[in-house]
């Protein structure tokens, strides 16, 4: 079976170029302002119908990347094009365009549902905000969407607290679908759920994608989940996209030492399988004053002189496989 997404020759649905996001934070001692580089010079594209996985540890900048695309936080550098529209320079009154086409699903759906609203009304809310249809039509649409994600009519008038975590995530998905988006940013959508519920939600996301031709930016730390759902994967470390490849290629031929380390850390799923574990020195450095040169050099077992001084360029080593490492090919 070929990839579900369009070929790279086509124009991408979303194209992110050199995205950076720097937060100004107060230094720990004193009043001096310091810069926290959450995302640094990140470029990637997402095609129609594709799932792009973004993996990395906490603090790697993967959620910030997702949030800047929706302009929930303003980027400090770079460009992004969604359906050829330059979304980082959209004036705020035109953000409605972006927020109709791009939606987000969160780890904790409870935080995006109004506890005092019946669930159908929460799902209809985006339609009301964007002034679509009459009240009756909006309700009908909400009921239809809730039905699609697995609720029966007796549930529609209930409140969010009456549902379990998995059911709330379904409500969150229905709400995200209300405006017929093209791209959904899924930020750790299953990590708070029990195992048996996790597979229900992943199946639902895959079905909806097939039905509606949706694209997903799938942010998660669980490698087996990302591997299952994503067509291509980007690996982030300390705000940098250090490697990107089609999923099978990334797992078969990880090139960046960090990617190899990350893959080796995931526990093997069967007691008879023992994984050769790569041990790394030290802890994740702070994104305030990140290391010079290659951000990974402080922990990289292969680090050489250029790694400490020069930031490695983005190299495409085979079709669709990019890596930022000085040592690749040496």
């Amino acid at each position: 079976m070929g990839p579900a997404y369009s070929s790279p020759h086509e124009h991408p649905l979303l194209q992110v170029e050199h995205l950076s996001k720097t937060f100004r934070v107060r230094s720990r001692h004193g009043w001096r302002k310091e810069q926290l580089k959450a995302v640094e010079d990140v470029s990637f594209s997402i095609y129609e119908g594709e799932t792009y996985g973004l993996v990395g540890e906490s603090g790697s900048g993967k959620s910030t990347t997702g949030r800047t695309i929706l302009r929930l936080t303003e980027p400090t550098g770079g460009k992004a094009f969604f359906q050829n529209e330059d979304i980082f320079s959209l004036p705020s009154r035109r953000l409605a365009f972006l927020r109709k086409k791009v939606q987000m699903i969160f780890q904790d759906p409870y935080s995006s549902l109004d506890p005092k609203k019946r669930i159908w009304s929460s799902v209809a809310e985006p339609l009301a905000i964007h002034k679509q249809g009459t009240r009756k039509e909006r309700k009908e649409r909400a009921l239809e969407l809730l039905g699609r994600v697995g609720f029966s009519s007796r549930h529609m008038d209930r409140f969010p607290h009456e549902f379990s975590g998995g059911q709330r995530q379904r409500i969150g998905i229905a709400k995200a679908l209300a405006l017929n988006p093209r791209l959904i940013i899924c930020d750790e959508p299953v990590s708070a759920l029990d195992v048996s519920i996790q597979s229900q939600i992943l199946n639902l996301l895959m079905e909806l994608q097939a039905e509606r031709g949706l694209s997903y930016l799938f942010i998660a730390h669980d490698l087996s989940v990302v591997r299952h759902i994503a067509d291509r994967i980007g690996v982030m470390y300390l705000g940098n996209l250090v490697e990107e490849a089609p999923t099978d290629e990334l797992f078969a031929r990880p090139l960046h030492p960090y990617t190899r380390f990350l893959l080796s850390a995931a526990p093997a799923p069967h007691p008879r399988l023992k994984r050769e574990r790569i041990i790394l020195q030290g802890e994740l450095p702070s994104p305030v004053n990140p290391p010079s040169g290659c951000v990974f050099h402080t922990r990289c077992p292969y680090a050489a002189e250029p790694c400490r001084q020069v930031k490695p360029a983005d190299r495409e080593v085979s079709s669709g496989h990019r890596v930022q490492c000085h040592l690749y090919g040496d």
Partner: protein, 341 residues
């Protein structure tokens, strides 16, 4: 093994009185842990795995909690001990670590103060001796620059470091049994790998037993020699770890195993689903508790509760139909539903 178990729980029930009435969070659980053994307790939220663990240390408010059965540890029934005797067991003979180390560390005291307090609470030691011991524990748990860490406050440490400190704290009195309740769930995979490795090393070094509570089956696969699967307050299956992964007998266990995406599985395939969700505890009826979600359930399952039966030596299962399901290959081959006519 002929040696006496380190911990033996017999027919434990833990009941809470709540506004909705009495809730039996743990209902007749029996299990044992041998010395120097790591036993995994798996199950989803609400299955009673954490309540079982906390019942061992009697951490619940005894005004609203009623325990039944026996918890035998070092020749005594912990449920019969006075509160004062129990205090000598907690943190001394049996220690517990939780998912979120921040909630167990006091934010206004330094790491050193907290470890030293734990040592001096249970052991006769001068301040200097306690400090030496604290340093040794921090070193043991792989914390770099322990001298400085002793003077750090919890918020100055990363999540992985805090969990190391919690482990140091839990080990301060060289317990015989360490209960670890989702110790790595809040951590990144890379840190999780380090913490699990550390727990394994320390188990060898200190020769203690570990009760590892988790929902993550791959953590179980890497750490445990025996596994106990719980569902709605009951043990539904118990087996040696490779047996459980190769030949799960309970439909719930095999469902769990099948619903996790595998790193070597076929991508983009529809994943196995266990239908429905765990019902609330007070809705439990007198039948097989998994019946409402079980693809194999029959009238018998819906009317009468099965008991925990020994299917083969060391392999126990609570299911009326495990033999038929097994014979029809519905166990672990991933073929999905197979409805027995």
């Amino acid at each position: 093994m002929s040696q006496a178990p380190l911990l033996e729980i017999k027919h434990l029930t833990t009941k809470f009185s709540t506004e909705q009435g009495i809730v039996k969070a743990v209902d007749g659980v029996s299990l044992h842990i041998d010395p120097e053994e790591t036993v995994g307790i798996v199950g989803e939220s609400g299955c009673g795995k954490s309540v079982t663990a906390e019942s061992i240390l009697r951490l619940f408010d005894e005004k609203t909690t009623e325990y039944g059965g026996q918890i035998l540890f070092e020749g005594r029934d912990l449920l019969q001990l006075s509160e004062e005797e129990m205090r000598k067991v907690r943190g001394n003979r049996i220690s517990i670590i939780f998912q979120d180390p921040m909630s167990s560390l006091n934010p206004v005291y330094t790491i050193g103060d907290q470890i030293m307090e734990a040592i001096r609470l249970h052991q006769r030691a001068s301040r200097r001796q306690a400090r030496e011991k604290a340093l040794e524990l921090l070193r043991l748990t792989g914390i770099s620059d322990p001298e400085r860490r002793l003077r750090s406050y919890p918020h100055e440490l990363s999540g992985g470091m805090r969990q190391r400190v919690m482990i140091a704290l839990a080990l301060s009195c060289e317990p015989r049994l360490l209960i670890a309740d989702e110790p790595t769930t809040a951590l990144d995979v890379t840190i999780q790998a380090q913490i699990l490795e550390l727990m394994n090393e320390l188990k060898e070094k200190l020769r203690m037993g570990i009760m590892l509570i988790t929902h993550d089956l791959s953590v179980v696969a890497q750490m445990c020699s025996r596994v106990i699967v719980m569902y709605l307050g009951e043990v539904v299956e118990e087996a040696e770890v490779t047996t459980l992964f190769d030949r799960p007998l309970h439909p719930y266990t095999s469902g769990l195993l099948k619903s996790v995406p595998q790193l070597d599985g076929r991508r983009k395939q529809k994943l196995y689903e266990i239908s429905g969700a765990v019902p609330a505890m007070h809705e439990v009826e007198a039948c097989c508790r998994f019946a409402p979600r079980c693809p194999f359930a029959t009238e018998l399952c819906r009317s009468k509760a099965p008991s925990l039966e020994e299917a083969e030596p060391g392999h126990r299962v609570r299911c009326w139909h495990y033999k038929d399901i097994q014979a029809n290959g519905g166990g672990s081959d991933g073929s999905g539903l197979l409805v027995t006519a």
